[in-house]
């Protein structure tokens, strides 16, 4: 069942190598900061895509899991006391696992509805988590936020541990997507995306498939949150559980091509450095909001399938028999995903 192609393996190896080598070549701290956020959003967009792109269930509240990951890290640090240094990193996979398991009941409830209702419900989840972060003051300190120990890393290579942690999560997310897409679960999700009722009628266990996708995606989405909490040192409810994090991840997945494996990463590579650069040189979050808004609208209206699928279409465009019918926004076919 698994379709392992040499080209796919080569792409994976190339990205891994480039990611590992980057900090050794580029040492300026401010560039490393941009790199950390780029890899973080690449991871977030990829794990969102596992649910949104593969199954068609667009979750607009995934930032809730990011926030839960961030707070879990801070809470473990503050209330249980794991110590500083490298130990907070060790908590990250455990947090991911914990969030994935905790997401099971949420998934079962939320996946009873579809389409726009599902999206609205996930937005509500976001606001519930934010409200809980504000109000469970004995646990989260409410609006006063939580802090973590100052990391003891040497100044010259301060960013490296965070970068590698984010890179590990990103590569893990890509690996998960690849395993899913080349396996039976992937076929089930694509079938659900195309026509859920028919898939159900054909005997596919749609609920199980959706719940697994939701929970894995949630767990993967939480892990960058935990690393981020340690990196920033301070987390506050309105910034840890922030709708703009979801919008960013969704935008990047859409830009690069949802339903593809490397699309979200491509989207992140384009948008994050641009946004970081603009934020420093331009500031004015109003312009940044308008910018997000404009880019999003342009993509939705002109290139709704994203860069990678559009590139693929261009590549085969000369053969009229390969051309999909319709005005361009037809659903990506099930074979349209390859590593």
């Amino acid at each position: 069942m698994k379709r392992v192609t040499p080209a796919g393996l080569a792409r994976g190896a190339a990205v891994t190598a480039a990611g590992l080598a980057f900090p050794l070549l580029v040492t300026a701290p401010y560039l490393m900061t941009i790199a950390i956020f780029t890899v973080m959003y690449a991871a977030l967009a990829t794990s969102w895509n596992l649910l949104g792109g593969f199954s068609g269930y667009l979750s607009l509240g995934h930032a809730a899991f990011f926030g839960v990951g961030a707070y879990a890290e801070a809470i473990v640090f503050t209330h249980i006391g794991i110590g500083g240094g490298y130990r907070p990193f060790a908590m990250v996979p455990l947090i991911g696992l914990g969030v994935a398991v905790a997401a099971i009941p949420i998934a079962i409830v939320f996946l009873r509805v579809r389409g726009a209702t599902f999206a609205i419900v996930t937005i509500s989840l976001l606001f519930i988590v934010q409200l809980l972060a504000f109000n469970l003051r004995s646990l989260t300190n409410g609006a006063q936020g939580m802090s973590m120990a100052i990391p003891p890393f040497p100044v010259a290579t301060y960013e490296r541990p965070f970068y590698y942690a984010m890179l590990a999560v990103f590569l893990g997310s890509v690996l998960c997507c690849w395993i899913v897409s080349t396996g039976k679960l992937g076929l089930m999700l694509f079938a659900i995306r195309d026509d859920e009722d028919r898939a159900h009628g054909l005997g596919i266990r749609v609920t199980a498939a959706k719940v697994i996708a939701f929970c894995v995606s949630a767990g993967l989405f939480a892990m960058p949150g935990a690393i981020w909490a340690y990196y920033e040192g301070f987390i506050y409810p309105q910034f840890a559980v922030d709708p703009l994090v979801t919008i960013g991840a969704v935008l990047m997945a859409f830009l690069g091509g949802r339903g593809t494996i490397w699309g979200p990463m491509l989207g992140a590579l384009i948008l994050v450095p641009a946004q970081q650069y603009l934020a420093y040189s331009q500031g004015a979050s109003q312009l940044y909001l308008i910018g997000y808004s404009a880019v999003f609208l342009v993509i939705m209206l002109l290139m709704p399938r994203g860069i990678i699928p559009s590139l693929r279409d261009l590549a085969v465009s000369h053969n009229p028999f390969d051309r999909p019918a319709g005005n361009g926004e037809s659903k990506p076919s099930t074979s349209g995903v390859s590593p």
Partner: protein
Amino acid sequence: MNTRRNRFVVTVTVVVMAVIAAACGGGSSSSSGGSSASGKPLVIGISLSQSGDFSDPGHAAMLGYQLWADSVNKRGGVLGRKVVLKIVDDASDPNQAVTNYQTLITKDKVDLVFGPFSTLLTAPSARVASRYGYSFLEPAGGGQLVFDQKLHNVFFVQPAPTVNCGDPFVDYLSTLPASQRPKTAAYPTLDDPFATPIVERARAKLEALGVKTVYSQVYPAETADMTPIVAKMVAAKPDLIFGGTQSLDAYGIVNGLVQQHYNPKFLFLSNGANSAAEFPDKVGANNTEGILSCTDWFPELKTAGNAQFVSEYLAKYGGTADTIDGGSAEAYAVGQVLEQEAKKTGKVDNATIISTLHSGVWPTVEGNLSWDQYGAPTGSQLMTQWQSGKLVPVWPQATALAAPTSPKPPWGG
């Protein structure tokens, strides 16, 4: 088929053009002062909230910083070096502030940094500065979060930590005869890094003074409607209402009290009521009489350089003394501290600044300041009161411009 290729090309072009246009279109704002200084410029990096939730106070801080830079450059700069401010916007986001300071220090290699607006942004930014060995003089991060980090490079340039806001009020009450003091108190508190600790501290002191707590409620920041809270508070009939507030909720509490026809004997609001221009506009000019608040600065205070600051400010920016936002004075004071440190030691490297400022008394428009080892100032805040439509400082008596009045007169309606 052409349509698909066209659309792809168009999209890419549009996105790329947008990015290029935005990149070319702007630059970070920076300011330099007059021309009578020579020598290598002294570049000071600052992350300010020029957009987002804190854009108004961030703007006030920027005016203060620039005013100081112009002023000191006219006097020959700092140690003969012209002061150049490099100000970048953090959009009121702590993460952006952290990134900004890191970039200012490691990419732009600024000589010094000054602090941003608000404790939320100051606390994580101070860490960045500390990591690179930079001193961190900051005008607006007075919450306990900042001092709890136990950093040695931080100096909060105001008379007292924000949490001490209620201290002058408690001191004043203790001078009143027992029959005039409030017997019962209500504590509506915003869930906020500033407001909550202020109320906790004040409440402990007031209870020690024998004032009974009849209502205490923390409400979330997004509470749109204060009326249910006010209703419940009014039902307990408190003599004193001590509110840990910011702006929105302070206005809501006052409006709610007016609508429900309840006039407490004492009304203290930690924030919102100390804004000379905004407060009467939001609650009605004839509803302000007798309301108490706290502040760190006042235009008519007789502090070091204050008269000159006010006149320079009005000359450069216009308006009247009442419209000067305290944030500008705070920022100006930061510059004053640096100027004096330079005069005293002849050096402006970060290590010298850090070691020098932990001892001694440093006069500024905010008062004569001194700090403990973690950057907390050791002085006292001012209590203000609205009297005849004007906001005046009334406590401590040494720096007051009028005597406090009590009890609070009825609502003007």
